[in-house]
Amino acid sequence: MSRGLTATGIEVAFGGVHALRGVDVAVEPGKVAGLIGRNGSGKTTLFNCITGFVRPTAGRTTVDGVDVTSLPPDRVVKHGIARTFQTPRVDPRATVLSAVLCGFYSRVGASFVGSLLGVPGAWREEQRLHRRAEPILERLGLAELRGREVGQLSMGLIRLVEVARCLASGARFVLLDEPAAGLTAAEQERLAEQVRAVAASGVGVLIVEHNIGLVRSLCDTATALETGRVLCAGTPEAVVRDERVMRSYLGAIGDLAATEAAA
């Protein structure tokens, strides 16, 4: 089997709702794959499915040829897949640094008992983790905020903290669910730069993004979903120009206009 993260023929149903009906996506190492689609099209469900939070009724997910379908989330992480959540899931009282340190969990070598007893190896490893967190914080512009409580940051910064935590896991594939939502233009640019740098280091990125400009400048490939199906896949340029995709998004805008008019 080929290298990369592939999900093929993924089907997910919640009761009577078919959230995904035979979706294929592939993420190559070192490449950024974009996932677009209007609200409710199944993007987050696809993430949940790949990362083991939701069991597909059909289809399979492989990482570099290894089948990870239906593994529990913590085992999926061990296969090198990390994710962020669309609504950041954070402990508002934790500091930025400790939130990022949490990302290292799957790579910790010290044992539970060793950590409890405070054996030198565990102390050294803890030091190493702190050292490794610094460049990640720095690259995302979070270094000055390391001692701040996450709950006191803006939503945009919280998303950056989540991305940093995700990167700390050392995953070979990272899934980012709308990481740019709520970010200022400058923060978006920093995020995009960081995603590019991560990809350049050989990591495959799957990113949900509504900002077409960002999709174009950032992604190598793109997939558009609508009501649980792949509408169109290919280069970002081709996908965003695709007539069905435009209609789907325009439809969404039309809906929005209608609801606003009604209100």
Binding site: P73, F85, R89, L116, H130, G151
Partner: protein, 333 residues
């Protein structure tokens, strides 16, 4: 306030604080026999409170079986020394390992349930252990109990036990703080707040929760070991569910999430209850204290102080303004 895990391997502040307090207070306490005896009993309670802190404050398991774990530790000590002639140091390992193993096994089974169901399971576990102790006459002496438990080696005065008890507390705080300053401590904090987040971090939630509960049970077992050797007599009433509940109360009142919270709670609470004129009033007092804490300071006395300290340092800072928006409620089945 110190948040476990954020500290760059700095000193262990909680260990330092408790070590200094013990070194300063013990010489004074030892000058009076009444105080010395109280110091031992409070030490046993403080250890139980710490065990609640690890279980409830960190792993998020509302435990009502710490008294039973202590009873297992105490009976292990009593049986091994009186019936099998073990030296009273060697039995400490068994007194800790036995409850730890039991706690780990039970937690693996029940932590998949809701927090409330898990709490009820610990209550049931405590009752079952009590019943077993009452009925295993041949081993435990049944209702009558076991007498003549030898003292711990050279330590045979109340003063000696007071030093032993508070030494054990310092060591426990040190180990506890080690854990909380490690990846596992951070992981415990994550899973207590948000299990889905924890799983996305790669945490095996049931395994880690169970490990935390096992450590907590081991500390309770050590408390029971100390109690058995000090009192030299053990019956089913010695360490029962009543003890479990008061240990829980003391930890919550002091601040279960803070390493030293349970110790503060124990000292304050027991100090106050000893001032109560009549024993009948104690139950009322327990209830009143719990209600006040739950209404006014859910994070306990230390949480209240930490909040005040934060406000003094940054008078303009609004307390966690976005916390409400961050409720981890994105629907995940």
């Amino acid at each position: 306030m110190s948040f476990p895990g954020q500290r760059y391997l700095g000193p262990r502040p909680n260990t330092l604080i408790i070590a200094v307090c013990v070194l300063v207070a013990l010489p004074v306490v030892l000058t009076r026999p009444v105080w010395t005896d109280s110091a031992v009993v409070l030490g046993v309670y403080a250890l139980l409170g710490l065990s609640v802190g690890i279980s409830y404050g960190q792993a998020g398991i509302l435990t009502m079986s710490q008294g039973a774990f202590a009873a297992i530790g105490g009976y292990a000590a009593a049986i091994l020394t009186t019936r099998f002639g073990w030296p009273p140091y060697a039995d400490l390992l068994v007194a800790m390992a036995l409850p730890a193993a039991l706690a780990y096994g039970v937690a693996r089974l029940v932590t998949r349930l809701s927090p409330l169901a898990t709490a009820l399971a610990t209550l049931a576990l405590g009752s079952v252990i009590e019943i077993l102790i009452r009925n295993a006459d041949a081993l435990t002496g049944g209702y009558i109990g076991l007498a003549g438990i030898p003292s711990v080696g050279a330590i045979n005065t109340p003063a000696g036990y007071a030093c032993l008890a508070w030494g054990m507390i310092v060591v426990t705080v040190f180990l506890y703080e080690n854990l909380m300053c490690s990846a596992y401590g951070r992981a415990l904090n994550v899973l207590r707040v948000d299990q889905a987040r924890a799983r996305a971090d790669g945490i095996d939630v049931p395994a880690l929760m169970s490990a935390g509960f096992a450590v907590s049970a081991a500390v309770a077992g050590a408390a029971g070991w100390l109690y058995a050797h000090y009192i030299s007599f053990l019956s089913p009433e010695s360490l029962d569910t009543h003890i479990s509940i008061s240990a829980l109360l003391m930890a919550v009142i002091g601040g279960a999430g803070y390493i030293l919270g349970p110790i503060v709670g124990t000292l304050l609470f027991d100090g106050l209850t000893r001032l109560m004129p009549a024993a009948e009033l104690q139950g009322f007092f327990y209830g009143a204290a719990l209600i006040i804490i739950l209404l006014a300071a859910r994070t306990g006395i230390l949480g209240l102080l930490a909040g005040l300290a934060r406000r003094l340092r940054r008078p303009d800072a609004t307390p966690a303004p976005r916390a409400a928006n961050l409720s981890p409620q994105e629907s995940l089945p």
